[in-house]
C-alpha cells in the first residue's frame, strides 16, 4: 500500500511508518537540492533513484538525495516526479 504522500489518514486505522513529509527545497539547475528547509546544503552524500510500480495506477518515481546541511544535520529528501514536489524521509 503506497498512498499518495500527504493524503489524509483515518483515525484508528493502520498508519504508514516513516511517511514522507513535505519539504521546502530550492533546487539547482541539475535538479539537485541547493537549500532544504531554508538551510544551505553543504554536501550531497549520495543520490539514487527509485522507480517502482510503474505497472500500476500509482507509479513511484523518486530521485533521492542524502544531504548534509550547514547546521550539520543529515537529511534525506526526494523529488516526486509524478507530483513534481519535494519530500523529506528517513531512507
Amino acid at each position: 500500500m503506497v498512498a499518495h504522500p500527504g493524503s489524509a489518514r483515518a483515525a484508528g486505522a493502520a498508519r504508514r511508518l516513516n511517511a514522507p513529509r513535505p519539504a521546502l527545497v530550492e533546487g539547482h539547475a541539475d535538479g539537485g537540492p541547493r537549500r532544504v528547509n531554508r538551510q544551505d546544503v553543504v554536501v550531497v552524500r549520495e543520490e539514487w533513484r527509485v522507480v517502482d510500480r510503474w505497472w500500476t495506477e500509482e507509479p513511484v518515481a523518486r530521485r533521492y538525495f542524502d544531504c548534509v546541511l550547514e547546521t550539520g544535520e543529515n537529511v534525506v529528501v526526494y523529488r516526486d516526479d509524478e507530483s513534481a514536489r519535494w519530500f523529506a524521509q528517513r531512507a
Partner: protein, 402 residues
Amino acid sequence: MFARTCVPVICAVVIPAFELRAALRLRPGLHGVPAALAPRPGKEPLVGAVTPAAEQQGVRPGMRLGEALAMCPRLELVEQDPAGAQQAWDEILRRLEDSGFAVEPVELGTVYFDSGGVERLYGGLEPALKRALAAAGPLWEPRAGAAERRFAALAAATVARPGQALIVSNDRSRSFLAPLPLTLLPLERSRYEDLEELGVKTLGQLARLPEGSVAERLGPDGRHAWGLARGERDGGVAPRTPVQPLRETLEFPEAVANELTLRRAVAALLDRLLARPERAGRPPRKLALWARLVGGASWRRTVTLREPTADPARLRAALAAKLGELPAPALKLRLELVELAEQTGEQLELVAVEGKVLEERLREGLRQVRAAVGAGAVSMVVEVAPWSRIPEARALLVPRDD
C-alpha cells in the same frame, strides 16, 4: 451568642466568594459595582460569585451568563485568577498554622479546625476565634463559627457578619439551624428545587420530615442532608500536615510564548528546586506550574506523578506536557513542589521479573497509557514488506486497543 460548654468544639472560618475577592485584588475599583466572576473558558457559561451590588440587581451565583446580563446590563465580568486565589488561600492557611491552628481546608474560602489546644493557648474559645479571624486577615472579611458539629459550625460562620465569631452551644444547635435556608446543605441545585416544591424552605422544616420519606424521595444525599439539618454528628476535623511548599520563580524581561524557551525556563526552575536543601533528598510527588500571563490573568496546572521521582528528565517530560496548555504568552513562570514523598530511596526488585508477570506489567502499563491518552494511543509496528525500495511501504503502525 450562646452559653459556652467546656467540650472542645469544631470551628469554621469562612470567606464568602473567595475566588471573586482574590480576582478583585487586581481590579479593586470593582468592589462597589455590580460584578461577577466570569465563566471558566471552555466551561458552561455560568457566572461565579457576585458582588453585593450585583446581588441587589438580582444576579445570583450559578446564573446563566445571558440571563445575568439581561438582569443587569452594567454587570462587569471579572476574569478568574485561579493561581492567584490558590496562592492567597495558601498564605491564609499558613498564617493560621503559624498561629497554632491545625487546619483542615475543604475548599477555597472554607477551613475547619478543632478548638482543643488553641483555647488554652489564647485563654478561651472566643479569643481563639478572634485570633483566627485576625490571622486570616481583616481585608478578606472572614467570619468564624464554632459548634460541636461541623455543619453547625459552618452554618454559624456563614451567617455571621464580617469579622464576627458566632458560637453555638450543642443544646441550642437545632433551634439555631431551624430558620436557616436549605442552601447551606451540600445538595445539588435540583434537590433544593424538589424540596421547595414540597414547601420545605428551611432546615427546621426539613428536620421535621420523617426520615423514611426523605430517604425515599431524595436518596442517600437527602438522608445525609436531613441528618445535618437535625444536628446529627458529622465527623471531626482531620487537620492537614503543615506544608512549606518549595517554589522557584523566573520573571521574563518580555512576554514569552515560544515553547522551547518556556521548556528551558522550566528546566532551570526544576534544577534550582531539586538543589534546595529543604528537600532533604525526598523525591517530588506533586508539582504545580504557575504563570502570570500577558493581560494580567494567571494560569496554574498541577502534575501528580504516578511514582515520586527526582529524575530531572522525567520531571521535565511531565511538565513539558502542561506547557502546551498555556493559553497566552507568559511574563512570569513559577514551579512549586507541592508534595514530597516521605521515602528517599526506591525499593528495587531482587530478582528481575519475566514471563507472565512481565507480560501482565506490560499490559497494565499499556492500559494506563490508553486511559491517559485515549484509544489509538498504543500501536504496534508490523513489517509488511521489509525488502521494499519504498521506505514507507516497509512497515505499518497498527493500533492495539485490545
